[in-house]
Structures are given as C-alpha cells and as structure tokens.
Amino acid sequence: MTAADENIQFHTIAILVNNEPGVLARVIGLFSGRGYNIESLTVAEVKHSENLSRITIVTSGTPMIIEQIKAQLERLVPVHRVSDLTVEGPFVKRELALVKVRGSGENRVESLRIADIFRARVVDSTNSSFVFEIVGDTGKLDAFVNLMAPLGLVDVARTGVAAIARGAAAL
C-alpha cells in the first residue's frame, strides 16, 4: 500500500439537480473525464413540481480530490446543491438488493433461515428458487450476498446507496 492509498477516504455525496436531459451524463462525464471514482450512484426524481432530482454518489479519493469533486460538481450549471454527507454530520445510508437463490433440500431451508436473520423478505418463490428483498447498509447487503453464495446464489440486483442526513435539516 502506497502513502497515497492510505489517504483514500470514502464519501457519500448528495446532489440536487434539475431533472433535465443530459444531467446524469454531465455528472458521470465529470467523474470519468477527471478520473474520479464512482463506488455507487443512484438517481431519481424527488420533487416533481420543481423538476428536481437527487443523485447520491459514493466516491473515494484523497481529501484534496474529494474537495475537487465537490467544487467541480457545484460548477455544473444544472446543479443546485452539493452536500458531503460524510462530513456534514450523521446520516442514514440504505441500499436495496434483490437476491435470487436456486436450490433444493437443506440449502433451500438454510437460505430461508438466513434471510429471516437478516430480515430479508421473500418476494418471489418457485419450487427451485427464491428471490429475497433485503434493505440495509452496504455492509449488511454484502454479508447477506456472501452467505447466499454457497447456497445457490445465481443473481443479484442492487440499487446502490440512497442517503439522507439525520435530524431536521434538509438539503
């Protein structure tokens, strides 16, 4: 591990943007064009009346790079607000995954048992498969998926992280 690597931090950034054509391409293009990392990205409209979407990006870099990322995002014309949740106080971070497990016998029962422990729900079932729905932070989802791997895991769909600050203040 080099000295630069040791300085790498993960930040969750919330961005309020105009919901207009090309806005996501602008944000993603900024990251790829300037060589920044995207660990996770989610986007959806959050305020239809004002035509606003919210993008949540989990990114990594040195403190100087993270500052640059925020400054570069703020510079984009359709961006209203950039909030670095990681530095602005406690925040809640959630991700949803749909996990398909195929199998029979003891493995099938075991997968159900683990799902119960993780408070995952069965949202689809056949004689030979389950689809579980699980919500939590990234670490919890990783753990669940890892446990399912030997039990017949065949497919995973994850939403990426949505995050919001704790407390009364809004973005």
């Binding site: 090309g22 293009g29 500052e67 703020e74």
Partner: protein, 583 residues
C-alpha cells in the same frame, strides 16, 4: 390580444439583437438554411464567413478576448458541429466567452443516423461550460439568453446550443433577456472582506512577496488591470504574469518581472521560488507555471483569488482562498491596503536579490550574423510597434514563447494566444476575429510554417473581407518545440518533426491576393518588417530562421523553478541551491 409568435429563426436574430451581438462567425449548411435566410433579410447583424468551423470558433475567441464581449458562432449539424470541438475545448481551457449555435437534424430524425446527424450535445459536453438541445421553440429564447449569461458570468467559457431544423422553422413566443434567471447558477463575484483583510495583513508582513496574475484579471475587464497596477504601486511588490495574463500589468513597469513558468524569465521564476508571500490573482497554478509541485514556492504563504472555486486547492494547497471576481477583489484589496495604512516591509533587500537575477539577462541570445535569430526578429518588431496600439495573436510552439518573451504588452486584451489547450492553428483565425472587431487597428499574427498550415484556408477569409492582417511566419522547417524536446531529452532523434516540402509562401500569399514577403538574412529583417507594417493590406511574411534555435530559459517538465536551463552553452548556470552566488 394574442401574443405575437415568431419563427425560431426570427427568435434567434432577436436574441442576438437584444444581447448586443453585431457579428457572428459561421458557415452555413443544410439545417441552418432558415437561419441564414433570416440573416440575408436584414442588415444589422454582420456574418463573417470563415473557411472552416474550427476557424469560426477561433475567430470568435479572438473577437471575445480583444473586446471583452462574447464571440458568437453559427454552424450546421454533423461535421459543422464536430469541427467546432477543438475551438470549444480551446475556449474552455482559456476561459473565453463563446456562444456557439449549431443546427441539428429535425427532432423526429434525432437518433436515426440521419444525414449530417451527430450527437452534438454528447460530443461537446466535456468541451463546453454548458450545452443544451432545444426541442421546443417556446424555450428557444430563454435557452439562448441563458447561453449568453452562462458564457459571460462567473468563469467565462463556451456554451453550445443545438437547434433542430424543425425548431428553427416553428413559431414560438419570444422572451427578453430580463426574464432569464438561472436559479442553479449564480457565481460569486464579491470576495469575502474578512479574508481580504487577512490577506492584506499577511502581505504587509511579507519580506519577499510576489504578485502572480493571470488571465482572470484580463477576463475581469480593463478596470481589473488598473486595480492590479494600483495594488502593485501601493505595495511596491514585484509582479509576474502568466502567458494568459500578459498585458494585465504594463510590461514597461519596473515592477514587472516578465512572464513566469516553463519559458518564463529567470527573475520571475526565482522570485516565485524564494518568495515568502505569494498573491495569485486569476491564475490557476497550471503545471507549465508551477513545474514540480512539491518544489513549488516551498517557503511561501499563498493567497489565491479566483472566481472559480474548483481552481482553488486543485493543484496547490493555499493558505487564504478568496472566491470572487479578480477586479472586485483587487479593488477591495487596494482599499483595505490603503485604509489599514498597511505598509510593506522594507523590500530593498528583496529587490536587490531580484535585480541580481535580472542582471543575468536571461533573454540574451547569441546573434552570429549568418542565420536569422527569431529573437532578433521579434525585437525588431517590438521596436517598430512600441508606440502603436497593436493586437498580437500567436499560434503554438517556440514562436509563441518568443513572442511572450520579446513583445511587450502594455495593455490587457492585446495578446490572443492559445494557452491551455495549445492549439496549433489558432493564430490566423483568431486574428480574423480581432481585425473584424477592430477594423482600424494593427493586427499582427506571429506564427510558424507548421501552425499556419493548420488553418491555412483562412487566408481566403482574410482576402474576402480585405482584412489588413500582418502574418509573420518564423519558418525553421521544423515543429520547433518538438524538435527542441527531441534535442534536449530524446538524444537528438528528430522523429517526424522535420517538414520536408513546403509551399512557396510568397506565391501562396499572392494566390490569395495577399502581399507575400520573404527574408533569409539578418540584414533583410528590418526592411521586411517596415515594408510589412507600411502596407495597407494583408501581408504574409516568410522569414527563414536558424533551425537550431531553442527557447530559453527553460524549466524542464517535472523540474522546479530554481532548476532552470538558461541557455544552450550554460546548462549548469542556473541556481541549484540557496547559497549560489549570483552575478
């Protein structure tokens, strides 16, 4: 009463009128025919036909940089739009306000690989400050006004608007510029007064200060340059400028140390290296300026004034960062300096050091009398133009650096050069834009045979509009800067940097209806320059120069300011440490 609806083409012209635009640079095509028809029907707006869309953007850049007003470009879809990419990227890097309007295939055909279709907004997204595809004629006026607002507010830059043919032909509602407000884009122009006071305090305590200013001061308007001059005189600090900043402070002022950076002067770079307080106004710590980052001004407290928050702490961590317009901040700084009656520490010993560095005369060169030295040509040109108000454009490479070193810019907006992107082919079309903006002024292009041939077709534009541009070609038969690096760093292996075969430039000029001149010997230089400047039309002057001449001083890529190479014969003369005694 029903609101009167206008066609998209009429709206386009109305926007240009309300924005005070009187010239557009462009090239027509299939989908912009209706716009051109509208241009034909009126006499207010002037259209300048270039011979290539890239040149139209460079012309708009030259127009913008020499006037402070946005340059406007009109091109067609597909290749018309893709040809603008280099120009837009150039304008983005150098913060030049340009509004580029491109035609697009009808909305119903977008995505169908129609004739002359290109994903213009997709292609230009990363080489513009902002861009937009207009799909509804009722949004057209707003989007165009917004384009002008974005191009000229905050850090200036190019904005592209993509106009489908059916939108140009449809009828819609016009809104004026006063109705336009972009909620999500309101750049800060006033600097934080608390930070400005802290900066002034720091400056007052400095023993070895320096002011390092860049293109941001020029973009902030002539008043900003005047404030810079006031600040320098109030403080008595030395001042150096970036390539993009030349002219923001008078070159003849004794406080001026010349340009800094890779080919900057010895005194400017050593003053940067040894300073204890650095005030950077409107420059961005570019790698060509800083050299090796961890060796950059190691002892300095750094103050950075920039209108773009993303420029701050991007390359160099600073101690005080002031976000704001260079002119406003400089004005407040001068006020703060005067009102706190801050007095600079006695700077005598600092100036003594600087004078020691100056005494090196780092821009001297050997003049052997047989071959023409490019430095000599530029010195002669400088002598001839020093009492005139001259606009100079350059291309990119050795001749560009020599121009920056030997031509003295006393006023802002007088040097047009491609700094950030380093676009060969910029000079001639930029001069077209400058001459259109200043029909009576003397406009000189300093270029080389390599760069000139990258947009040679613009000689036809020069001819068509009878633009009396003086084109000075420093012809060494090489891509000079490439050749220089190959000589210094690649064992003199001159891979593909020699032009074998070139046109007869005099005949070429004459073929375009332009006066052609040629010189090969030093004793012909003076006569050639005089003849060129005396002619009332365009001139292309081809000067054969010493092909082995290199640009010095030089900081090699990845070296620090104090590790300069001063000249070909004395590579070790530069200071290597604190204790080196200077002549």
């Amino acid at each position: 009463m029903a609101i009167k609806k206008l066609t998209g083409a009429e709206i386009f012209l109305r926007v240009l009128k309300d924005q005070g635009v009187d010239v557009v640079f462009g090239y027509p095509g299939g989908v912009t025919l209706s716009l051109y028809d509208e241009i034909y029907k009126q006499n207010r707006l002037r259209h300048v036909l270039t011979r290539h869309e890239q040149a139209a953007v460079h012309a708009a850049e030259g127009y913008a940089r020499s006037t402070g007003k946005p340059g406007v470009v009109l091109v067609t879809s597909g290749p018309g739009a893709t040809n603008t990419v280099t120009g837009l990227a150039d304008a983005l890097m150098d913060s030049i306000p340009v509004v580029c309007i491109a035609g697009q295939v009808p909305t119903a055909l977008i995505g169908n690989d129609a004739f002359q279709e290109a994903d213009t907004t997709g292609i230009t997204r990363s080489c513009t400050k902002h861009n937009n595809l207009v799909k509804d004629v009722d949004h057209l006026a707003r989007v165009l006004h917004e384009a002008f607002y974005i191009a000229t507010h905050g850090r200036p830059g190019p904005v592209m608007v993509d106009l489908p043919k059916d939108v140009i032909n449809a009828r819609g509602v016009y809104v004026g510029p006063d109705k336009v407000r972009i909620k999500s884009y309101q750049p800060r122009v006033e600097g934080d007064i608390g930070l400005i006071n802290r900066a002034v305090k720091l400056m007052a305590k400095a023993k070895q200060p320096i002011i390092y200013a860049g293109g941001g001061v020029i973009n902030a308007g002539p008043a900003a340059s005047a404030c810079l001059e006031q600040l320098v005189h109030a403080t008595g600090f030395p001042c150096t400028l970036t390539l993009m900043g030349l002219g923001a402070f008078p070159a003849s002022d004794k406080h001026f140390l010349g340009m800094l950076g890779m080919h900057g002067t010895y005194e400017a770079n050593l003053a940067m290296h040894h300073c204890d307080v650095m005030l950077n106004v409107g420059a961005r710590f570019d790698d060509r300026v800083t050299g090796k980052l961890d060796g950059f001004a190691p002892k300095a407290k750094k103050i950075h004034v920039d209108i773009d928050p993303s420029s701050i702490n991007k390359n160099v961590l600073v101690d005080i960062a002031i976000v704001g317009d260079a002119g406003r901040v400089l004005e407040d700084m001068v006020k703060a300096w005067k009102s706190t009656q801050a007095k600079a520490k006695a700077l005598k010993s600092w100036w003594r050091k600087i004078d020691g560095w100056r005494a090196k005369k780092c821009l001297s060169y050997g003049n052997n009398g047989k071959l023409v030295k490019p430095q000599y040509i530029l010195q002669r040109l400088q002598a001839e133009i020093k009492d005139r108000d001259v606009y100079v454009t350059t291309d990119v490479g050795q001749h560009q650096m020599w121009t920056a070193q030997y031509i003295h810019f006393e006023k802002p907006n007088r040097l047009m050069t491609s700094g950030g992107l380093g676009t060969m082919g910029y000079g001639l079309p930029a001069a077209v834009g400058v001459q259109i903006a200043h029909p009576e002024a003397l406009v000189v292009v300093v270029t080389s045979e390599g760069s000139l041939q990258m947009n040679l077709q613009e000689l036809a534009t020069v001819d068509q509009y009878r633009l009396p541009i003086k084109i000075l070609v420093l012809n060494n038969g090489y891509m000079g800067m490439v050749r220089q690096w190959q000589e210094l760093f690649y064992g003199k292996r001159y891979s593909e940097s020699r032009y074998q075969g070139e046109p007869d430039f005099v005949k070429l000029a004459e073929a375009y209806g332009i006066m052609g001149l040629q010189a090969e010997r030093p004793d012909q230089v003076d006569g050639l320059i005089k003849k060129m400047l005396a002619h009332d039309g365009a001139v292309l002057a081809n000067l054969r120069i010493d092909p082995t001449e290199n640009v010095f001083p030089m900081i090699a890529a990845g070296a620090s300011h104090h590790e300069m190479i001063l000249g070909p014969k004395e590579p070790d003369l530069a200071e290597t440490g604190e204790d080196v005694v200077l002549a």
